[in-house]
Point group: C2
Amino acid sequence: MAAAKTTTTSAQQTSSAPLRLDAPRIPPLAYSGRVQLKALLDRPESVVGRHVIVGGWVKSAKEVKKKAAAPPSFATATEETTDAGEGGKGKDVSCVEILQSRIPLLRSLLDVFGGGGYVQRKKRENVIVPNHKVLPPKASTAYLLLTDGSCVPSLQVVVDSSVATPSRLLPTGTCLLVEGQLERAEGKHAIELKAEKVLHIGTVDFDKYPLSKKRIPLDTLRDYSQFRPRTTTVATVVRIRSSLSFATHTFFNEHAFIDVQVPIITSTDSEGFSNMLKVNTLEQKAEKEKLDTIYETEGVSLEHVKAAAKEKSNIIEHLKRTESNREALAAAVQDLRKTNELASQMEAREKRKLGASFKDDDKVDSSKEFFPFQTYLTVSGRLHLESYACALGNVYSFGPRFLADKTDSAKHAAEMWMVEVEMAFSLLKDSMNCANDFFKYLCNWVLIHCSEEMKFVAKRIDNTCVNRLQQIILGSPVMMTYHEAIDVLRKAEDKKFETNFESGFALTSEHLSYLTDTIYQKPVVIYNYPKEAKPFYARQNDDGTVAAFDLVVPKLGTIISGSQNEERLNMISSRIDELGLPREKYEWYLDLRRNGTVKNSGFTLRFDLMVLFATGLGNVRDVIPFPRSYGKANN
Amino acid sequence: MAAAKTTTTSAQQTSSAPLRLDAPRIPPLAYSGRVQLKALLDRPESVVGRHVIVGGWVKSAKEVKKKAAAPPSFATATEETTDAGEGGKGKDVSCVEILQSRIPLLRSLLDVFGGGGYVQRKKRENVIVPNHKVLPPKASTAYLLLTDGSCVPSLQVVVDSSVATPSRLLPTGTCLLVEGQLERAEGKHAIELKAEKVLHIGTVDFDKYPLSKKRIPLDTLRDYSQFRPRTTTVATVVRIRSSLSFATHTFFNEHAFIDVQVPIITSTDSEGFSNMLKVNTLEQKAEKEKLDTIYETEGVSLEHVKAAAKEKSNIIEHLKRTESNREALAAAVQDLRKTNELASQMEAREKRKLGASFKDDDKVDSSKEFFPFQTYLTVSGRLHLESYACALGNVYSFGPRFLADKTDSAKHAAEMWMVEVEMAFSLLKDSMNCANDFFKYLCNWVLIHCSEEMKFVAKRIDNTCVNRLQQIILGSPVMMTYHEAIDVLRKAEDKKFETNFESGFALTSEHLSYLTDTIYQKPVVIYNYPKEAKPFYARQNDDGTVAAFDLVVPKLGTIISGSQNEERLNMISSRIDELGLPREKYEWYLDLRRNGTVKNSGFTLRFDLMVLFATGLGNVRDVIPFPRSYGKANN
């Protein structure tokens, strides 16, 4: 396989015909013959004259007709097209053919691509068409802006009608793989690619393609998750998100934290009162009834179904005995399960007809469940993470967390990614320090590693974004206790809050926003909360508050929440009783207090909100790759 | 917060009393006053003489009685304890007090730690005890092996009975934070810590602590997920896993891949025939009936419950109006939901008593569901990832995937982590190359970054592990088509396989193992499979096979599976029909073929199997942080 890889690179080099010795080598992508547009557009001056293959999707296009009609032969009239024609001479082989001749080892493999290969295996497909005559079209030139998602700008690709039929290239969203030469361009583009061959065309169903419209609001785009990363805005946000993800792993690696992948399926409610999503394998009764109806009308007898089930059992036994592969066995098991279910439904129906108890049949038989206990999707991995901190010291986890909560939907989705951190031998202040350093690190990383993206964001989404990140890097948040925050809010005479500040009152987003947006105009860390406002595991202070904190930022609200965790067995035990939590579900967690307990603290960063903070966007659905709408089932 | 952080470090430095100027500075952990044991044990010679704070858990311990009885005063007889006593003089302040005096900004915060601080606020607690007399114990010295999970070796800590009561320190699993001086040691340990103060003791419930036993088999340990990372073996494996995770992100970052976090909750079955886990929020009927019974016996009336529900609605309205915080609102909503459910149950029961239809009451009301369509936990993110590849080029995802499949349980768990990769403008060979490079990269990374861990693994788990990884780095897998593999197996006369090779037969693990373990004794890549053996989206070759591959390794079987994906709309569309898949669920995916389709390929690496491959362990439950046993609900 190493040989094959080298050959891909040399295929790339082979096709770089008129090589200018002063032009620097353009790194091709390791696992594709094409060159990334970013590699060209980051330094346009230095790549002029290079011969490359590029791929991407058309963002916008125009066709310019030529004054003289194209002659009905291979040769075309204009200077550009002659150039292009000549450039292609002597290299009239498709990309697949080049690869094939270079990789004897893989020949048999590549043979199979022969049939349905790239669209244009022959040059000038609009001229050479067997079996039916085609009138030569009027000569024209297509100017296409192509993007491959690697950077903000697009590459202008110029395709003469002698190279490919313009009408097939022009629609927005068309996919192209183009070979040609980079030249200096006129106008706003520094360079452009003169196409010599179009190696692949992926056409567009213009009327149904949602991006055919020029400007689509972000909230409309949410209904087209499969297409929206093709827009410059979403692609830019995705790259920033990806960069923040790598920054997260790099930060914790630099600080000797161990990455622990906590379970998604759990029987523990980490907060104590969450609306958790349940996991099961049982068929919904409604579905069963649907099936029931189908087979009733088709007149299948119970005996038939039972016989089929028996036969299917035998097949599975055979597959198991021969240690067959997973897919085949899984399919067979699935098949049997359906047949068995059908059989029991039919049996139940017959019983019913005979006047047998209806209720027995309808009872949920939990022995059929995959997990014998009710399991949920995790709301937070901090409790699980803590058990690793109580063995390995400093640990973190980065993954999806779940909450069935329809409130505050612009800042919340059922499925969101969180960065969770736990540190043994640490106090509240340690987790506040770590959270603050991490937050600054992310802000700094984005400015350094996504400078082009941030320029685009500043221009098109939020012109304060760079300044906002710089303020975080250079400044410090305001530090105040919950009670200090309440005092400040009480004194805010210019603002009448609807609520009174009773003892233990949770701060609303209205209060938080008043502190960060109006009074301080910067992030605020609030710590030592009333215990009612925080999860059961937050460590109790002597004054009745708990050692927990929130890092609140303007406009978004709380982006990081953390706490020192209660390490005293008696204290946490009585808190669990006080809240009436199901004690048996927390026994494993209490074990950590019973055996080798340690002062520890940690925090959670809401990663999706971090992307909103960096980009200035206002809705998490615009930064989550596949947001699940409550009313849609499209992915 | 930056100030606080600096002070933590200076607290560390302040307590480093008899500083040897030639000793290098030991980096303390950024968010804890303690020093990581790895920083000491990686270079024991150079840290002798340093004064440090270390934290960790006791792995093993012994107490050595002194010949002379301890005099009933503060002073003790032996040389060691006198040293320790002197070393402690003039610095008799607890860790908390040091921090407090240095951080005026955080004083109010730290005040709250006063009450339940570290166990030993006073030196020599066994001597000074108020209110009741204690007979002075016999003088002794405790020798403790302490681990903090940062490295394989442990640090020997020597605690004189004048410093802390040995019986409280000795049990395995006891958590200690100890301040003292590093000295050259005799015997097998290069250095040891002479304890001057024990700043924290987390005791152990000896009889119930599972790790009290010396050697526990890995499969017994699986029942104690919360403790098992405290064993050297599991901690070592966790560090290797964490390192492989970072290697994954680093590899794809180096190759300009974008990290895309694909959805966990989906309505798409990516393979077409998987046993998927369902997600819902509806109460199980069984639970409802339990509730029903409770309230029936408690004699709560329907009117009471309805009144309570109304009141709770009002509270929620108020919370919403005041934009209260998420937790409070979620709790209130949850509360109301339960009350409403109870009310409707009671209403139904009354109806039943009045002879109303039983069936209506029992029907699943799917309008109450959080998602209006049946949703599942994703089996694979490759389809979702593809839509990002068709916009951004090269993308990857690393996260948990789910399958309700009880077969082959040593290599499979319901929840496993996968690395998934998709590349636009790429063919089958490209994904095979990328998969192979990635696999080599991971093997190389482990040898470089986990050299100490691999030595331990070689000694205690599998002495062939280093050699196995080196072979991968230096060699190449055998490359063969499915049909070539079948030919080789047919010729294997020394081995009688139970199955005949019919057309389209899936290779069983017995076959794969014969190829990798017996014939070639190295990894094998098998490609161009019969279409029945692969997911519906694998690209169809002209000979009836599909462009898919498996990288199979000795002992474990398939560790990477990949494919070129079918980019032709008509081909994939008819394959969906052929398999009878619910077409409407794949419309969003087919849209990618309708608009700007592109040749693309990708693969999946089973990350948990990669950890098995590196460590030589045989069961994924030993490398997954919290394996969910089918019969247990302990986390």
